[in-house]
């Protein structure tokens, strides 16, 4: 569906060694939600971040704009998020706010609760324009109507004065997108934008995002747990598990030949309409608690191939030989072990 891009575009966003920890009450220990995550986002591409709940993908996205509530969470020093020549994590607040909504924008999962119920959608869209582009109220309102039209909302001149509760779920999400894009950001972070929507609306919203990305030339960080979404709309994929990146690959390569057993498991778990009906394959075990990640490779307790080395030593991200495809698994260096399933 999408051609794997040669990363010839510039790196827009560079995340290195990101660690975001949370202090839990009653001294149950520190929850290491994001534990050393690194990836790059290139101009013009859609990078999908995929994983189960609890793997740290949402926390990663929130960390980029420093939207993590400070107690109990904190981003450890040593983490780097480079954008436009600046380390976002070290930027003073006023400058960070100039980036938020302006150069890097974010949309969230639940459009109903993410929109302020007492302001009209027009006001909320216009607010970003007023703050960042210093438009007058009249000009900002005109922009808001323009944006509503851009995201495909019918009768935008009327809708601009409506309140969030008067709109359907799909329309609210479109409003969120309009709000995020009004300043033409270079990067859009979309945290599970379609999870709370009906399937048919999901498709519409994702198509909308694709179209807007092409028209506005921005990079999109698409966070989701749904492999189908990733397959259809991401150029490259980052798979996360237990607070770490376990595999990075161009989408086609990932689906054609997943290297990490976790990715294998995720793909195998998707029921297929064209295959003979058999028992649904599930990855055995559960995601461990963020306060107590397993030693060695974090996936080894649930891995069908694991051997002693996996429990003892955590693998780094290893090159697999395919361009842009890395995996955090010892199987990359010892592929013969793949035959022996436990």
């Amino acid at each position: 569906m999408t051609t794997p891009p040669a990363p010839n575009g510039a790196v827009l966003l560079r995340v290195r060694d990101l660690k975001t920890y949370f202090v839990t009450e009653q001294g149950k220990g520190t929850a290491r939600a994001v534990d050393d995550v690194s990836f790059d986002l290139y101009a013009g591409e859609t990078l999908g971040i995929v994983g189960e709940s609890g793997c740290g993908k949402t926390v990663t996205s929130l960390s980029i704009l420093r939207l993590i509530p400070e107690p109990p969470g904190h981003i450890l020093p040593g983490s780097l998020i480079e954008f436009d020549g600046n380390n976002l994590l070290a930027l003073p607040l006023p400058q960070l706010r100039a980036v938020r909504g302006n150069q890097i924008a974010m949309i969230f999962q639940e459009p109903m609760t993410s929109l302020n119920p007492v302001f009209t959608v027009g006001d909320q869209i216009a607010e970003a324009a007023i703050i960042h582009q210093h438009l007058s109220r009249g000009a900002a309102r005109a922009r808001a109507i323009e944006m509503l039209r851009l995201v495909g909302i019918p009768d935008p001149d009327e809708r601009v004065d409506h309140y969030p509760h008067q709109l359907s779920g799909g329309m609210r999400q479109r409003v969120m997108i309009a709000m995020a894009l009004v300043c033409h950001p270079k990067v859009l972070i979309a945290d599970e934008p379609t999870t709370a929507l009906d399937v048919t609306i999901q498709a519409q919203i994702l198509e909308l995002l694709d179209r807007l990305q092409r028209e506005l030339g921005m990079a999109v960080l698409l966070i989701t747990h749904d492999l189908g979404v990733v397959a259809g709309h991401a150029d490259r994929v980052v798979v996360m598990y237990a607070g770490r990146v376990v595999e990075t690959a161009p989408t086609d390569a990932l689906f054609a030949r997943p290297m990490h057993p976790y990715t294998e498991g995720l793909l195998a778990a998707v029921p297929r309409i064209d295959a003979p009906r058999s028992r649904l394959h599930a990855i055995p075990g559960q995601v461990p608690a963020a306060t107590a990640w397993p030693t060695g490779c974090r996936f080894h307790p649930r891995c069908p191939y694991a051997w002693e080395k996996c429990a003892a030593q955590e693998p780094p991200l290893l090159e697999t030989g395919v361009a842009g495809h890395t995996a955090r698994c010892w199987l990359v260096t010892e592929p013969e072990r793949r035959q022996a399933k436990r």
Binding site: E25, Q26, P69, P71, P72
Partner: protein, 309 residues
């Protein structure tokens, strides 16, 4: 104060502290209790309430003097606090400490009983209105509207002033009968939302009787507003009783309540402040502790209300 009364007092303090500590230990295992004890004020509030309850119950053991006995109207009037008279004497040379201790009985007693009545009545009416809905709800809620519009203190003033020498029980009932309206609204709202939940539908499908459903299934889940109402209610009733006694139409002297102690000694507040400060502080302390405990209960039972950590 004699040795015996000192010992009794110390015992009450220790018992209260131990009680709270024991509850904390036992509670640490459960998430709700942990949330309840999260703030220190809640533990203190609970401890103070237990202590005062113990003092009230063991009043004869803790109070060194007969609360109504005028010790020496000539020489011991308005005596400042000393080792004999722990909190001084009042305008009629009665020991303030003893009166405060016995006053605790009356004030806390009325508070607890009045609130118990109000909350029970309110829960009953609210649950019925919320569960049955339609015309039952309409009729009951109109009644509650009228009840809320009644100026409560007027009604109580009238009830108490018009019948001279109202007995303790009648006062409690009167307060209870006029204080349940707010609770019924809260309970009704809660029951109405719980009613639609799956576990209620399941119970009905199993053929459970309505009464059983309400009491065993719905109400336990509505515990949060009920308990909070109760805790705050005791405080309100206490303040109400104090106000009435202050106006001279609640519990009549010489029987001590914290309210009429303030009234009796108000004229000498300038020269002998302790006799008014003590009962006032006592009331404040109890209401404060009740509010602290109510906060804790709200924190523990209603996660929606929780602040972000």
């Amino acid at each position: 104060m004699t040795l015996g009364t000192w010992l009794a007092l110390a015992l009450a303090v220790v018992l209260a502290a131990e009680c709270v500590r024991a509850l904390r230990q036992r509670g640490l295992r459960q998430e709700r209790w942990r949330r309840f004890f999260r703030h220190r004020t809640t533990s203190w509030g609970l401890g103070i309430l237990v202590f005062l309850a113990l003092v009230a119950v063991a009043a004869p053991l803790i109070a060194p003097f007969d609360p109504n006995r005028q010790l020496d109207i000539v020489y011991l009037k308005n005596h400042p606090p000393s080792w004999t008279f722990l909190l001084g004497t009042d305008v009629l040379s009665r020991d303030v400490w003893s009166r405060a201790v016995y006053g605790a009985r009356v004030s806390l007693g009325i508070g607890a009983l009045g609130a118990l009545m109000a909350v029970s009545l309110g829960t009953l009416v609210g649950a019925i209105a919320g569960y049955y809905q339609r015309w039952v709800d309409a009729v009951l809620m109109r009644g509650v509207d009228v009840g809320l519009a009644l100026p409560r203190i007027f009604i109580l003033l009238m009830a108490v002033a018009l019948w001279d020498g109202l007995p303790f029980a009648a006062l409690v009932i009167a307060i209870g009968l006029t204080s349940w309206f707010g609770t019924s609204r809260l309970v009704r709202a809660e029951v109405m939302s719980l009613r639609e939940q799956d576990f209620v539908v399941a119970a009905r499908a199993l053929g459970a009787q309505t009464g059983r459903i309400i009491f065993r299934h719905v109400l336990p889940n509505a515990a949060a507003p009920i308990i909070v109402s109760a805790a705050l209610g005791v405080g309100n009733v206490l303040l109400l009783e104090a106000s009435l006694s202050f106006l001279g139409i609640g519990i009549k002297p010489p029987d001590p309540t914290w309210g009429n102690m303030i009234a009796d000694n108000a004229p000498s507040i300038y020269t002998a402040p302790w006799s008014t400060v003590v009962p006032g502080l006592a009331i404040s302390l109890v209401v404060m502790s009740l509010n602290a405990v109510a906060d804790g209960v709200q924190d523990a039972l209603d996660p929606r209300e929780r602040e972000p950590a």
